[in-house]
């Protein structure tokens, strides 16, 4: 790799690479994000590689007319339909692709230009086959500022990033702009932290800039710990250079010389790709001494998280980089004054950093037109749970929950009823049907008792028990509480005891009141954000689903059929065909019945594992 020493050299490289890309007549993009890999995308990629080589079409073997290049790209977002493959230049979008399909795709589509109907997405409403990614309802209402590049570039190649205009924002910032100008631009853009709290990014930078120190740090928080949220992972895996570029701009603006990316160890691919990106940027001279001849020097290191949810809290994260346990401290002194190793530090989340190059490229005015009055830009959500189209969606702020869940997500599968949507992870809350027309922005969701959080959006249908969901989050937080302050450590434990009592059918009405009281105390007296927001899942479910709590307490009933102590499995005689499968599969021998006869479950012996329901093909097993 040749070092890039000046803006002109960067521009020249860009022109050369972009030109090459334009000449690329055909290319195949195989999504190799974690979800698609889990679905077998590597095998699909390998099959393409083999097939192209066999036909002598591989561009790496033979340049020239008709040859095809192959890219393993980052996450395209439509994870429920993986492995995903896009055939350019026509941008034909194939889903649920198997290695067996590959020879046919190459033969018919790549060479012959024909479509393979069965691999195209079928619109569930119209039954029509959809040709292009952007015409699929899942993508139609999205606005993919950050995610778009994921599908176009190989995240392991810095040249791919440069070819689509990468590092131009950095060049503009460090060569043409003063630190204050950049900060003003970020303030004017209205960008707020995407990690959850929504603190204005520009203000944070301004404060760090103000504090004089020979050493300052910028940190990228990639300890994405909210269960049910994975947008940061996809950005770091799919477009690591965009995050890095944002960090360089931020570091220049505040006068930092060293950066850290703190990645959770559960994300091995993200760790691999960001580490590689840093090495490549360093080799090209986009990190290190005197970047592009600007006189500005900056480098970035990677730290691996140890698997603690509280590690994503800013002060705990810094303690963890310093090699100590991830315990938060009280924040009467901000990190922007005294953060990592006691130096002024700017800590932003992955998605926040990735927004920065866009703002510098397009300008604050352009950016501020997207979104609502106080929440600007787009937000990526991981839309998961009981929804037809699962995956990552990037939408402009201010879109309604209904649009996200029903238009983009395609509604609830199996004709079931929508019950609620959980946003904001363990710090957020559950919102019911009545709140679906709320616009998605920081302040509206806060006011409704939930929060935007980092972007998890878990849809729940009628088979979800809201008391169990509250218990689930409190159990999670009890385990993840670092134990430093009493309200969080002890309070949550008591909340869990009470909620367990209720889901076991042993709760009282006073218990529900006590939960609210405890919640108030924990929210006001805890040391860090984990404890302060911990009662939200409980308080929001009591607020919107109180009748379910009452049913558990008074009627000893769980209408969703989730709480084991309150349900039983029975066989509906009319539906039972006597196929004998449940009899054979029951692990405790609780089912009796002859083949072709009606089967019965012995309630004394039944351990309620649910296998009989899973294996019954005739819908004869019911939970009551």
């Amino acid at each position: 790799m040749k070092r890039i020493e000046s803006r002109e050299a960067l521009l020249e490289l860009y022109r050369e690479l972009a030109g090459e890309r334009e000449k690329e007549e055909k290319y195949i993009a195989v999504c190799t994000g974690t979800a698609c890999l889990a679905n077998g995308a590597q095998e699909v990629y390998d099959a393409f590689k083999e097939e192209l080589a066999k036909r002598g079409l591989d561009i790496q073997v033979k340049k020239g007319e008709g040859s095809v290049s192959l890219r393993g790209t980052g996450c395209h977002g439509f994870c429920g339909r993986g492995p995903l493959v896009a055939i350019h230049p026509r941008k034909i979008f194939y889903q649920l692709v198997r290695p067996e399909d590959v020879p046919e795709i190459v033969e018919k589509t790549v060479v012959g230009g024909e479509l393979i109907d069965r691999l195209l997405y079928e619109d569930p409403v119209t039954g029509e086959r959809v040709l292009h990614e952007e015409d699929i309802p899942f993508y139609k209402k999205q606005m993919r500022l950050l995610m778009a590049a994921n599908g176009q570039i190989d995240p392991k190649s810095i040249y791919d990033y440069i070819a689509i205009g990468g590092y131009q924002a950095m060049a503009k910032a460090i060569l043409d702009m003063e630190g204050d100008e950049i900060i003003q631009e970020v303030i004017d853009s209205g960008l707020r932290g995407r990690g959850g709290a929504g603190f204005p990014t520009g203000w944070k930078w301004e404060d760090a800039k103000k504090h004089q120190s020979p050493v300052k740090y910028v940190i990228c928080n990639a300890d994405e710990g909210d269960p049910g949220a994975y947008m940061d992972r996809s950005l770091l895996e799919g477009n690591p250079h965009s995050v890095l570029e944002g960090m360089i701009i931020g570091a220049y603006a505040v006068g930092a010389t060293e950066g850290w990316v703190y990645v959770r160890k559960e994300y091995p691919l993200a760790l691999e790709n960001i580490t590689l990106a840093i090495e490549q940027a360093r080799e090209l001279g986009l990190l290190g001494e005197n970047i592009l001849g600007s006189g500005f020097s900056f480098d970035v290191k990677v730290a691996r998280g140890g698997g603690a949810f509280v590690g994503g809290e800013s002060s705990a994260l810094m303690a963890s980089i310093e090699g100590r346990v991830a315990e938060p401290r009280s924040k009467h002194i901000h990190a922007t004054e005294s953060g990592l190793w006691g130096r002024p530090t700017v800590l932003n989340n992955v998605e926040t950093w990735a927004n920065v190059p866009i703002i510098i490229n397009k300008g604050a005015q352009w950016y501020a037109k997207i979104g609502t009055e106080k929440s600007k830009g787009t937000k990526i959500f991981s839309l998961v749970g009981d929804v037809n189209h699962t995956g990552l969606v990037e939408v402009p702020m201010g879109i309604t929950l209904r649009e996200v869940i029903f238009d983009i997500g395609g509604g609830i599968p199996g004709g079931k009823e929508f019950k609620g949507v959980q946003t904001g992870g363990p710090s957020g809350g559950c919102l019911p049907q009545s709140q679906l027309d709320l616009p998605v922005d920081f302040d509206t969701l806060d006011a409704a008792g939930s929060m935007m959080g980092s972007g998890g959006m878990i849809v729940m249908d009628e088979n979800t028990c809201m008391v169990d969901v509250a218990r689930y989050f409190v159990k999670f937080l009890t385990e993840e509480s670092c134990g430093k302050c009493v309200p969080c450590r002890e309070g949550l434990k008591h909340m869990l005891d009470i909620l367990t009592r209720i889901t076991d059918g042993e709760g009282t009405m006073e218990d529900v009141e006590l939960l609210e009281e405890l919640g108030y105390v924990i929210a006001h007296a805890s040391l860090c954000g984990l404890g302060k927001s911990a009662p939200n899942p409980v308080l929001s479910t009591i607020k919107y689903y109180k009748d379910e709590y009452i049913e558990h307490v008074r009627d000893k009933k769980c209408r969703a059929g989730v709480c084991k102590a309150l349900v039983k499995y029975i066989i509906i005689a009319e539906n039972c065909t006597g196929c004998h499968v449940c009899f054979k599969r029951c692990p405790v021998g609780a089912i009796s019945g002859e083949p072709k006869g009606i089967h019965v479950i012995d309630q004394e012996m039944c351990i309620k594992c649910g296998i009989c329901k899973d294996v019954c093909k005739f819908d004869a097993v019911k939970v009551v």
Partner: protein
């Protein structure tokens, strides 16, 4: 079944090598311990002592880090680590039932290892494969859309490998 013996070798040398990777800087304790755990599969007592000795950090401090983070285990692990994702999306899709079934079939609780050192069962808070839940990961291989009914054949598959 008797507990299989675990031999801990080359402690001094391994610790020395790993420390050198991080410039003998105890601030990189989490990564140092992660690398050592990769070598031994867990963090044996001897290793923690040696880390303390070579870094001149009090053993309590090393132990504090080793017991605070979920990534570390002080007990030997099985040949296969089975991780059940208990993230919200997987929970809503019934991962707790899959976990219960695994506990039944393996005869151990989450966090434990079978006596023959074949399987370690643990839970993990979201691996970001939410669209495929419930997800079970066995030694980095993802098994999507798990159900309690699939548990027995999954275990059988790995036992026979």
């Amino acid at each position: 079944m008797a507990m299989t013996e675990v031999v801990v070798e080359n402690v001094e040398q391994n610790v020395k090598e790993v420390l050198a990777r991080y410039g003998n800087n105890p601030a990189r304790m989490i990564e140092i311990l992660q690398d050592l755990q990769d070598i031994y599969g867990y963090l044996p007592r001897e290793v923690l002592r040696e880390v303390s000795h070579q870094t001149e950090m009090p053993l309590t401090r090393v132990y504090h880090v080793a017991t605070f983070f979920k990534a570390f285990t002080l007990k030997p692990r099985g040949k296969y680590t089975i991780q059940v994702c208990t993230g919200t999306a997987c929970h809503v899709k019934g991962s707790y039932r899959v976990l219960e079934r695994l506990e039944d079939v393996l005869g151990i609780k989450a966090g434990d290892t079978t006596d023959d050192l074949m399987f370690t069962l643990e839970t993990v808070n979201c691996v970001g494969a939410c669209a495929l839940g419930p997800v079970v990961i066995v030694n980095h291989k993802y098994h999507a859309y798990m159900t309690p009914a699939k548990v027995e054949s999954l275990i059988k598959e790995y036992r026979e490998q």
